[in-house]
Structures are given as C-alpha cells and as structure tokens.
C-alpha cells in the first residue's frame, strides 16, 4: 500500500522472473521477487552462490544475455519502465543515472586502456563536456576515493595498480556521472579485510554525501549488517526474508536466515572452538517445475505443508516480511536455537 506522504521509490521491482534455457529444460533462476529502493538508501541482497542475486543485478541493468528470458509485472527506475525499455534507453541510463561496480577489478577494467581513458569514457559519452573537464573530474573523484597522486594515475594502466587501488578506480568510475543508483556486486570480496573496511566506509560516506541509492550484493553477513538499511535474503531464486537490517539480524524469522546466522562464528557470541551450526544438504535444482518452499529439503522446521504454496508473513509493524508456512518460522513446539 503506497503511503501518500512518502516519495515514490527510486526503483520498484515487482514479480521479477528470470528463466534460463538449459539442456534439460528451463532453469527458473529467479522466481517473482519484489523489492523497492528509495533514494539514499542501501539495500543488501544476501545469498549463497546460485541464489540468483547476481542475475537480479544484471537484470536491472539490462545486461542479461539474449537467450535469458526476463519478465516482471513492474520494473521502474524513477518512473522509467525498464521492462519494455529498448537498448537506447538502457544505454542512456547505464553509466549515467545507474552504474555498477563488479567484484573483480582486474577482469572488469580493460588492461589495454589507461585509467584516465576508462574513467572519462562514460562522462564523455553521456555529457557534453570537454576532455580536459572530464579529466579534471576524474582527478577529483580519484582523490575522493583516497588515491594519492591522482593526476599521475590517469596515465597508468590497471596492471600497475594493486587490487585495493583498482577497486577504488572502479568506484570512482561508477561515480563519474553522479548516478542515482549504484549496484555493487561483491565489491570487496577479492580484497583484504583492512582494505574491505576502507572501501565500504568510502561507499557508505559517498552514498550519503550524494544521496545515492545502493544495491549491494554479497554473501558476507558481516558486511550486510554494517552497511544495509534494508536486507533481502535470497535463496534459490526467491527472497525468503526482507526487512530492516535491525529486524533481519536481531529478530530473524525464516529458518534459512536463522540457519545462516548460526553457521558463522560470531566473535564475542560464539564460544571459541565450539561446533558451529550447519545447514545440511545442497541447493535444490531449479530446472523444471519448482513448487512449494525451495528451502524445505534443508530446513529443520519442515512439514508436509511446505510442498504447497508458501504465504508471505509480516511479523511486525515495519517492513519485515518472510515466506514460510509457519507463522513464526517455527513448527509447533519448535524453539529458536541460537
């Protein structure tokens, strides 16, 4: 129910579905997910490999391959319909109003072009601006992301920079046109923990300064807790739990979310050397007809009803929602294990 007092979300996604034709039929990689992102807000999509989180980000950017079928009831960026947008519309948006930061700074920077050329490319394409002004803007942003001797870096090539510096260059590149939305797919996974903290701080600060919305895709629950305003937990192509970071981490409802939090050693909480929680089994195949709760094959709260359609539940007054046949994510008589 839209609140008339609240501004329209920057990004609205309803019923996003991604089907991939494979040898044995169709892989239902993402099945009808809904989410909103407001201006200046950070949404973290957290999930394990194969959950469909990276496909979701590529779908938003219109970067899925031609064989992949993407459908949505509604997918709007600031009132622009993305479902029916043609290549020209998407090209005008990408790199300008929405941009992306990828995981591997080595493979996503072009080794044959200088840092300066790559930084200014989007700006020269989208704006009527001189080469000198574009380079000045590039220097300004390199300084902003904490790169020293920024002007001398423009002539350098990616191989001359360390991993941490390359990722900063990627961030500077994504910010060149002051986008309203940044999608960052595992932006710090390949980096050292010390550099990770610096890059994340930088992203959060810049986001706040520029009132930029961010979708951060990660498997790291620590990153999510520290960066997210809103969290979406993704499992096997569905969002199984969504809510504020506080709701999802302090009162997790879905058995999968609870299970994930038990799996990681938490300094100060988990006893050193004690056994960690586990989630047995593996992610189900999403080829062919997928029905019922996708987590039921690994769930410790499974009952017969999990084969049927799973309702959305709203445990509190806020935006917190989860999908489970059990009202509180626990079967009758079940207890929360922490």
């Amino acid at each position: 129910m839209p609140d008339p007092l609240l501004p329209e979300p920057l990004l609205t996604v309803r019923g996003l579905t991604i089907d991939i034709p494979v040898g044995g039929g169709t892989l239902h990689a993402v099945r009808g997910i809904d989410f909103d992102v407001n201006r200046g807000e950070t949404l973290c999509i957290v999930g394990e490999s194969g959950s469909g989180k990276s496909l979701t980000s590529l779908a938003l950017m219109g970067l899925l391959g031609g064989r992949i079928d993407r459908r949505a009831a509604r997918m709007e960026f600031d009132g622009i319909d993305l479902t029916g947008a043609n290549k020209r519309t998407m090209r005008a948006l990408r790199g300008d109003r929405m941009s992306m930061i990828f995981q591997e700074p080595m493979t996503s920077l072009n080794p044959a072009y200088s840092i300066g050329d790559q930084l200014t490319e989007a700006l020269l394409l989208h704006r009527d601006i001189s080469r000198d002004a574009a380079r000045a803007r590039a220097v300004e942003l390199l300084e902003k992301v904490g790169i020293t001797a920024a002007a001398s870096r423009l002539g350098q090539y990616p191989h001359q920079l360390s991993g941490g510096l390359r990722q900063r260059v990627m961030i500077a590149m994504a910010l060149m046109c002051e986008p309203e939305l940044i999608i960052a797919d595992e932006p710090t996974t390949a980096l050292d923990v010390t550099i990770q903290a610096q890059i994340l701080r930088l992203l959060v600060e810049l986001g706040r300064e520029m009132n930029m919305a961010m979708i951060l895709i990660t498997h790291d629950l620590g990153v999510v807790a520290r960066v997210a305003d809103k969290v979406a937990v993704m499992y096997a192509g569905e969002l199984v739990e969504t809510g504020s970071a506080d709701e999802v981490f302090n009162a997790p409802m879905h058995p999968y979310t609870r299970g994930l939090l038990r799996c990681i050693p938490q300094p100060g909480k988990t006893e050193r050397g004690a056994r960690l929680g586990t989630i047995p089994g593996i992610v189900p195949s999403l080829v062919g007809k997928v029905s019922g709760c996708p987590f039921r094959t690994r769930c410790d709260q499974v009952v017969d009803a999990c084969r049927q359609d799973v309702p959305h539940r709203h445990p509190g007054a806020g935006e917190h929602a989860f999908r489970c046949v059990h009202e509180n994510g626990l079967r009758a008589g079940g207890e929360v294990v922490t």
Binding site: V193, A225, R226, V248, C263, P265, R275, I282
Partner: protein
C-alpha cells in the same frame, strides 16, 4: 615463544627462516632482493592450531610453501618432531606435512576419479597394494563424511563442499602430523564453510593433528585457532595464545586487523581501521619499523630503528611501544 612445556618437543619448529627472492622490475630492470619471509621463528606443539593472519603479500603463502617443501628457505631451518627436515627431501616431508588449498575447484584433477585422487599419495609413496589402497580410501572418505559410492565419480559431479572434503581426505590419507590449511573455506558458501570448519575441528581432536591455518577471516581464526601469528611484510609481529591476542591485542597492526572484522551487528557502521596508506612495496620496505607509515601511534624512533621481539606472557610482540630493543645478537640479516 613455545606452545608446549619444556619437556615436550614441538611437533613443528621454525628457526630463523628467511626466504629471499630476486625480483626484476620491468623488462630491463635490475634484479632486486625481495624478502618474503624475514627471520621467522615459530614453535608449535602437537594438537595446536596456529592461525596465521596478515594482508596479501605479507609472506603467509611463502611460509606455507617452505613448510610443504615447495620452496627452500634461504636461511634457517624447519624441524618436525625435533628432526631437521631438508627441503630437498620432499617425499619425507610430504609424509608428515600435507596441504589443503583454498579452491577445491582447481586443486583436484578433473580427469581423475575421486578414488584416484585420494589414493595418489599412497601410490607415490608406494604404500600397500591396490586392494589395501582402495580400502584405505573408503575408510578416509567415511571419516571426512563422504559415502563410498563417490569413489567412482569425478570432481565435476560434486559440490564445492564435497570437493573440499575430498581435498581433506587426500591430505589425511598418509596420516600426516601437520596439515597446512591455506584459506580452506574462503571459496565456500557460509553454510558449507561451517561444515568444513566443524570437520577440521573433529579431525584434529580425533587424530591429534596440528594445523597451520592461514586465513584472512579473523572470526574463523578466532574460532578455530589455539595460537595466532600476525604477519606483516615477512615478519611475525605478534604471536600468542588465541584468547590473549583477541582480548588484548598489543601490536597496533593487530589492533587494526581486529578492528576491521565486521561482526554481523547492525547499527554499528563500518569501522575506521586508521590504516591510512596502501600496503607497502615489499621490494622497498620502509626503514625502521616496516609498519610505521600506516601506524596511528608511530614515534620518531619507529621511522629509523627496527624493533626487536619482546617476550609477552604467552608469546612475543615486535613493537617499540613495548621496548623492542636489541638485547641479544640475532641471526637476522
């Protein structure tokens, strides 16, 4: 600096181990020395888990390679059970020290069946006949939680977690005393990671294994390790019991590393590690204390004089804040 009582010989001991490479910068550049591991002395008792932490490029992996006999130290020696191991004798070393690598997707030969992969060490060391090797594989697979039917399958048919179990089975089939775990769970999903960490803990208890556990994930190190060594530019700057390190970190670098751990606690934001600068170039390490350009509490002395190890109740720290004067002649270069 030892984890064991005086009477007991440490299962693994490093004395003044140094590894220097000669590195050419550019096509026509002159070769310069790069000291990847700089005068490292460590001692590890049986059944201990030494967590080795530090940023990429600090020399963790070079140290692991020396222990596996894949690299010979330029100086110093490695002792297993008090016996000096010559890196040239790799077969002997391989019986006692085995590795588990980070990526179970690239560390298993895709063209070999699981039985072939796991039994290869037995074949190399000429242990038993075909039937007894097959039996040994079945037993070790059972121990790591894989059914015997996987013996005839191939790595491509397995999940990441199953593959890492195969890698563990292969490492354990020679009944080594020491296992070098180089980022063993960082390529795995969270739910799989915990299974592998539990398995490593169980195996250690059951077989009295000693681990060198290299990881960038400090929460995992805190959970599994009994001792922790912090490495910076080739040197162990702090080494002590796990509780001591995490409860009272002494070295400013250790403190910064601990600060950078993102626990899943919402509302706390991303911490400022105060590590301003980039990781320094190991070919031209900063003078004095190598850490001083990034150190938030660096003093004048740190810019000129190198610190020496200072004993702490459970280990050592190498920092001018704690003294760190040269009290005895060291072997270091």
């Amino acid at each position: 600096m030892t984890a064991t009582s005086k009477a007991e010989t440490p299962v693994l001991e490093l004395r003044g181990v140094t590894k220097t490479y000669s590195v050419k910068q550019g096509l026509f550049g002159t070769a310069k020395p790069l000291t990847a591991v700089n005068d490292v002395s460590l001692s590890l008792g049986r059944g201990q888990v030494l967590g080795l932490v530090g940023e990429s490029g600090c020399g963790k992996s070079t140290l692991a390679k020396i222990l596996l006999g894949l690299e010979a130290p330029t100086q110093g020696e490695v002792r297993v059970d008090g016996e000096r191991i010559d890196a040239a004798d790799r077969r002997k070393l391989a019986r006692r020290i085995q590795p588990i690598f980070q990526d179970p997707y690239s560390s298993l030969n895709p063209r070999k069946s699981i039985e072939d992969i796991v039994s290869l060490p037995l074949l190399v060391h000429d242990v038993g006949d075909s039937a007894s090797r097959s039996k040994a594989v079945r037993e070790i697979l059972d121990i790591v939680g894989l059914p015997a039917r996987v013996m005839q399958t191939y790595p491509s048919q397995m999940s990441g977690g199953q593959r890492q179990r195969v890698a563990i089975a292969r490492a354990l089939i020679m009944k080594p005393e020491i296992v070098i775990c180089d980022e063993p769970t960082s390529a795995l999903d969270v739910s799989v990671q915990s299974q592998i960490l539990n398995l490593l803990g169980d195996l250690r208890a059951e077989f009295g294994l000693t681990y060198l556990f290299i990881s960038h994930d400090l929460a995992v190190v805190e959970h599994l390790a009994t001792r922790v060594a912090v490495m910076y530019l080739g040197r162990i700057v702090e080494e002590t019991q796990v509780a001591d390190l995490f409860d009272t970190p002494r070295h400013p670098y250790t403190q910064a590393l601990l600060k950078s751990v993102l626990t899943p606690d919402p509302g706390q934001g991303v911490p400022d590690t105060e590590l301003g600068m980039e990781y320094p170039n190991p070919i031209a390490p900063p003078p004095g204390c190598h850490f001083h350009p990034r150190c938030p509490v660096a003093m004048d002395k740190c810019r000129t004089d190198r610190p020496y190890p200072v004993a702490t109740p459970d280990g050592h720290v190498e920092c001018h804040l704690f003294g760190g004067e040269q009290t005895q002649p060291t072997k270091s270069a």
